[in-house]
């Protein structure tokens, strides 16, 4: 009888297992782009930045077809009339497609495109320690995305030139209870002139001549306008920063990522430094920076001119450790700064995983001396390797 019982139970178990397996659903799959991967490879037919070339404005505010990638990068710190503080980031990325992808079929299509655009909009509520972010893509077709000298846009997120400055309008509409919208309407008026990074805008990032980008910045921009959050519009003012960069395969071999600092000091100076990080977590000799005086004069910095040391790491839910506090030293210029995240959780969790957030700049004894933005890249990629 035991044997029969065993057989019956076995049969029932087999049937149950089969039924269970039939009702299982495969897990959702989602992918993420590697930030460094996007920047260190490019097929041969793309143009490369191999030496200094004169830049012309406003023409060079528009896009530069023929290069693998290009971006328009605003960051800034704002405050409303009640003194609440906010950080913001708005970036347009253009990734050119290679020729074989573009021309598989000879006929024309309305959707034919040379490039794909990605936009990142983030808002940090510094007092409430809340981070809002939205990512968008569009192709460079049907007028969905593009950049001329007068306008940069991805769908309805636009930056329009207004004579001396720009008007930025980026709104994430709120839809019902589940998602309150957020957004920015800012007038951006440069307080300093354009500065050319590297050698007259030729910014080398590796040993090969092509491991370079064309790179210019406006390090201090007066921002004023409205910020939308929690269904409320608030009048805000503050300082913004613009970075413009384009190139192909600009990152050299053996790089894991970078740590980029854009600091606006209360004494009127602006400091940009970035550390290109090698596989073994050291600063690449191609790390560089720029120090802009209050009157707009500037000095390009090399790897030996500054020292960046992480002093605290924040571990996110995935277990990735992001260095959110730093000591920045430039003895030759008498600078010894502590840079710390306004709050830790300012991590992008979209197609590209990186940390980009508002930071506070403190002096040697902890006194506030400025504000800025910090970008940490490549940590999620190396964590998943």
């Amino acid at each position: 009888m035991r044997r029969d019982l065993f057989l019956i139970l076995l049969l029932a178990l087999l049937a149950l297992l089969w039924l269970g397996q039939r009702t299982e659903r495969a897990p959702e799959q989602a992918g993420r782009l590697s930030g460094t991967g996007l920047l260190n490879t490019a097929p041969e037919d793309f143009r490369r930045v191999t030496g200094p070339e004169p830049l012309e404005f406003p023409a060079d505010h528009g896009m530069h077809p023929g290069y693998r990638n290009e971006w328009w990068y605003f960051t800034g710190n704002l405050a409303d009339e009640q003194g609440r503080r906010y950080g913001f980031q708005f970036t347009l990325f253009r990734f050119a497609l290679d020729a074989s992808t573009r021309q598989r079929m000879p006929d024309a299509s309305d959707f034919d495109t040379d490039a794909v655009w990605m936009a990142h909009l983030a808002l940090s509520d510094l007092d409430g320690e809340r981070f809002f972010s939205r990512e968008r893509f569009a192709r460079e077709a049907l007028g969905l995305a593009g950049a001329t000298e007068d306008q940069w846009w991805l769908r309805d997120w636009t930056v329009k030139r207004t004579g001396t400055g720009w008007r930025l309008e980026t709104l994430v509409p709120g839809r019902g209870e589940s998602s309150a919208g957020f957004g920015l309407e800012l007038d951006l008026l440069p307080a300093k002139d354009i500065v050319l990074q590297g050698e007259g805008g030729y910014s080398r990032k590796g040993p090969e001549p092509g491991n370079a980008s064309r790179y210019y910045s406006i390090t201090r921009i007066q921002a004023s306008g409205r910020l939308l959050l929690d269904g409320q519009a608030r009048d805000v003012t503050g300082l913004a920063w613009l970075d413009r960069e384009w190139g192909s395969s600009q990152l050299g071999e053996g790089l894991d990522g970078w740590d980029w600092f854009a600091l606006q000091l209360d004494d009127g100076r602006d400091l940009m430094v970035y550390r290109l990080r090698t596989d073994d977590d050291r600063a690449s000799p191609w790390s560089a920076g720029i120090l802009v005086e209050a009157d707009g004069r500037y000095q390009v910095l090399g790897n030996d001119d500054f020292d960046l040391q992480p002093t605290r790491r924040w571990r996110d839910r995935e277990g990735i450790a992001w260095p959110v506090e730093w000591r920045v030293r430039m003895p030759a210029h008498g600078l010894d700064l502590q840079v710390r995240a306004a709050f830790d959780a300012q991590r992008w969790n979209a197609t590209v995983a990186y940390w980009e957030g508002a930071v506070e700049v403190l002096g040697p004894v902890g006194e506030p001396v400025g504000r800025g933005y910090l970008e940490l890249s490549g940590y999620a990629d190396s964590a998943s390797d």
Partner: protein, 814 residues
């Protein structure tokens, strides 16, 4: 102890346990199969938008069918616009399979759909270093296409061939079944849809924003509307399936009843003994209920497995016609849930307990110490049977007549059948008795009379058998009758000698006129189809007077309608359209034509089997006034007497058509019937399934009766009946029982045929079938098979008796 008792009995009678398991499993399998199939044909049909933008996602379509691509660009750039996904959809053929090409924007909200090296759908479709356009497809589709090893597919779109590379195979996305995902730009080139897209997908929460901005040309379709539309499309098909599954379950339960009651009757003597030994009623009840639950539970599990496999097979049968007839794409396999399984399993156990309740009650009435076998169950007086039957038949008929819905048609038919089935035992045994009387004195007469003594036990089996046989035969009759009707209809409708069209694009007026001037052409007809904003399907006919009579008018006066139709002053409507919209000849028809709202008189209603939604037929003249684009979908050519179609085909190239396709009426009729056959494959499959259940019912009933009577047969042997005579006796009994079941089944089959043709078809699909004599082929097929099987199942018990000593069967305990 109780378990041991049950076990000991089952151990000695494995065949009966097996039969009970098979009976339950068969019933559960059919229910499961149909439930899963229903799900696939409603919830998952065309589930691609759910897969792409979530279950509650929205779809935007254009009233004229396609969205101008600039409309999409405008919408997408408006302030506050949601993440819209532009989509191009087109039917394609790959390796003989009908699939759908979905061109979409991988750089939109759906970019996480596929994953390759962690970079999403976009990387898959924009794969660099690939010379061919890339597609993403689900694993099930990949397997459906025979796992192409070289990673290259050959697509046929509107007569053209294209090669594409397989970039990524996605797991666990049934909404992608029978679909190929492609980058929208490549898809637009392949489908020659420059300037247009098929639809926009939008996230669920963008409904208000969209509704405020779509304008009059774009329609917002939410998930509920999509499911309703899919549900409406396949309603008729599903209703037939559901009805069949319920009838199959009923038959399966008959089998269960028959087998379980037999298991009980065998142990009647033992129960008497146990009661005498002090076993109480509750103990006995517990034991018997335990047995039923165990058998039902195990049989139920097996049935769930079998039903799932069955549903997947049926889905493969049903998917091609669904794509062909409705233009919708079903998943490759069904998507069961544990909840559904648990529900059906519980239902199976409860049903088994319910049908065995009378048997249990009977067992509990056995008095202690009763050793001798009862001579059979109590029998209802014939007057009570007749009364019950009449009530059921009258109630069923009344329901059908008073309620015009499909559910009433099916429910009423169910009641009428139930009413007639309760008469089957009386009729069947009456017949057996009649034959026995005619053969009295002979072995056959004696054998048949012996059956009478087991009447109580055999009655349910006989009824089940008749019902199952009747269903199999009746469905076969309906399908064949319908097929003949459709064949006649097509033949009558197609009056021209040759039909010409251009795949993927319409003919223009100049080309049509040019054809008219070719030598040998006497006169032309043409058709043009359009779908109005309000969803009405309209066909515009240019007809010579002789073609008018290709329509078979079932409402209105054809003679009087012709001039009105010709001048564009009236429309005629197909029967399904008339039925769905409650129209008849003389009513007025309100539509939103391309030129605005119109009201037209309905001049006549014509027979049509081409679509369940039905359509409105208007004249070419009216179309010209409405649209005026000079387009024709196909042209019918009437030749001068003596001119052969081949002669004309030689002239056709002069017209300058692009890859013209031509058809003769015979080839269209062949193709129509081929579509018909594919559409009804599932009905055939179900008829076969019911036939198989009938087989199980037959085998179980006859084997049970043969085994039950083993002791009687042994007595006959002991009294000197030679083995050969015994064999004849037993086979005469089983064959006689089968013949009785068949005799009762044939009139029932004719009734099912009539009910399906005259009640269920019109209510499910909107069309009626002309009354005709039922086709006899199913009878000719089923009757001999059943009789042979009936004979064979008699041989086994007789053979078993021959194998063991007679004394073994004579012990009272058997």
């Amino acid at each position: 102890m109780l378990t041991r008792l049950s076990h000991g009995h089952f151990r000695r009678h494995p065949a009966q346990v097996l039969l009970a398991l098979v009976g339950i499993a068969a019933g559960i399998a059919v229910i499961t199969g149909v439930a899963l199939l229903r799900d696939a044909l409603v919830e998952s049909l065309d589930a691609v938008s759910e897969t792409l933008v979530g279950e509650q996602g929205l779809v935007v379509r254009h009233v004229a069918g396609e969205i101008p691509v600039q409309r999409y660009a405008e919408l997408a750039r408006m302030p506050g616009a949601p993440d819209l996904v532009p989509v191009i959809r087109a039917p394609v053929r790959v390796a003989g399979e009908r699939l759908e090409l979905i061109g979409l924007e991988p750089w939109s909200g759906i970019r996480d759909l596929a994953d390759r090296d962690g970079t999403g759908l976009a990387t898959a479709l924009f794969a660099e270093d690939e010379s061919l356009p890339q597609v993403v497809l689900g694993r099930a589709t990949w397997e459906l296409l025979g796992r192409p090893g070289d990673g290259v597919l050959e697509l046929r779109i509107a007569g053209q061939s294209h090669r594409v590379g397989i970039s990524t195979i996605v797991d666990g996305q049934p909404g992608l079944d029978r679909r190929l995902l492609m980058e929208i730009g490549e898809a637009q080139k392949m489908t020659a849809m420059q300037g247009r897209i098929s639809e926009l997908l939008a996230p669920q929460d963008s409904g208000d924003w969209l509704a405020a901005r779509l304008g009059e040309d774009l329609l917002l379709i939410d998930a509920a509307a999509r499911r309703t539309s899919a549900g409406d499309l396949t309603r008729g098909m599903r209703a037939n399936l559901t009805a069949m599954s319920l009838l199959a379950l009923a038959t399966g339960l008959f089998v269960v009843y028959s087998v379980l009651s037999f298991l009980l009757v065998q142990r009647r003597a033992r129960f008497g003994l146990l009661r005498a030994l002090g076993m109480t009623h509750p103990m006995l009840a517990r034991m018997l209920i335990g047995e039923v639950v165990l058998i039902a539970a195990l049989g139920g599990l097996l049935g769930l497995v079998a039903g799932t496999l069955l549903a997947d097979r049926l889905l493969l049968l049903v998917a091609p016609p669904v794509a062909e007839v409705y233009g919708r794409f079903a998943p490759v396999s069904t998507q069961p849930s544990m909840l559904l399984y648990a529900g059906i399993w519980g239902l199976g156990i409860l049903s088994a307990l319910a049908v065995t309740a009378p048997v249990l009650r009977e067992a509990l009435t056995i008095p202690p110490g009763r050793i001798l076998r009862s001579s059979g169950a109590r029998r209802w007086p014939i007057s009570r049977v007749l009364a019950l039957s009449s009530v059921l038949v009258v109630a069923g008929t009344a329901w059908i007549l008073l309620d015009a819905r499909l559910i009433a048609g099916l429910g009423g038919l169910f009641l009428v059948l139930a009413g007639l089935v309760v008469l089957v035992p009386a009729a069947g045994f009456g017949l057996v008795g009649l034959v026995a009387g005619l053969q009295s004195g002979k072995l056959a007469g004696r054998a048949l009379r012996l059956l009478e003594s087991a009447r109580g036990r055999l009655s349910p089996a006989l009824a089940a058998l008749s019902l199952a046989l009747a269903l199999a035969i009746g469905m076969g009759m309906m399908i064949l009758g319908f097929r003949a009707t459709v064949g006649d209809w097509v033949e009558r409708l197609l009056r021209a000698d040759l039909y010409v069209s251009q795949p993927g694009r319409p003919l223009v007026d100049e080309q049509v006129e040019h054809i008219g001037t070719l030598p040998g052409v006497r006169v032309l007809s043409s058709i043009r189809r359009l779908e109005l904003v309000d969803g009405t399907h309209v066909t515009a006919y240019r007809l010579p007077a002789e073609a008018w009579w290709g329509f078979e008018f079932i409402g209105g006066d054809g003679d009087a309608a012709w001039p009105l139709f010709e001048r564009g002053e009236a429309a005629i409507v197909s029967e399904p359209y008339a039925r769905a919209n409650g129209l008849s000849a003389g009513d007025r028809l309100e539509m939103i034509s391309p030129g605005g709202p119109v009201s037209l008189p309905v001049a006549a209603v014509f027979r049509d089997y081409s679509s369940e939604q039905g359509f409105v037929a208007i004249s070419r003249e009216l179309y010209r006034r409405w649209v005026g684009d000079g387009m024709h979908d196909s042209v019918g050519i009437y030749l001068e007497p003596g001119v052969e179609p081949e002669q004309l085909l030689r002239e056709l190239p002069a017209v300058g058509l692009d890859d013209p396709q031509w058809y003769t009426p015979a080839s269209i009729q062949r193709e129509t019937l081929a579509v018909f056959d594919r559409t009804f494959r599932i009905s055939w499959a179900l008829a076969l399934l019911v036939g198989l259940i009938a087989l199980v019912a037959l085998t179980s009933a006859l084997l049970a009766q043969g085994l039950e009577r083993a002791r009687e047969y042994a007595t006959l042997r002991a009294l000197g009946l030679p083995p050969g005579r015994l064999l004849r006796l037993v086979t005469i009994q089983s064959t006689g029982l089968t013949a009785a079941a068949l005799a009762a089944a044939l009139p029932l089959a004719a009734l099912i045929h009539l009910a399906l043709s005259l009640v269920v078809q019109p209510r499910a699909f909107g069309w009626s079938l002309p009354v005709a004599l039922p086709p006899l082929e199913p009878v000719l097929l089923v009757v001999p098979v059943a009789l042979v099987l009936g004979t064979l199942t008699g041989i086994y018990p007789a053979w078993r008796i021959g194998q063991r000593p007679v004394s073994a069967y004579l012990r009272a305990d058997r």
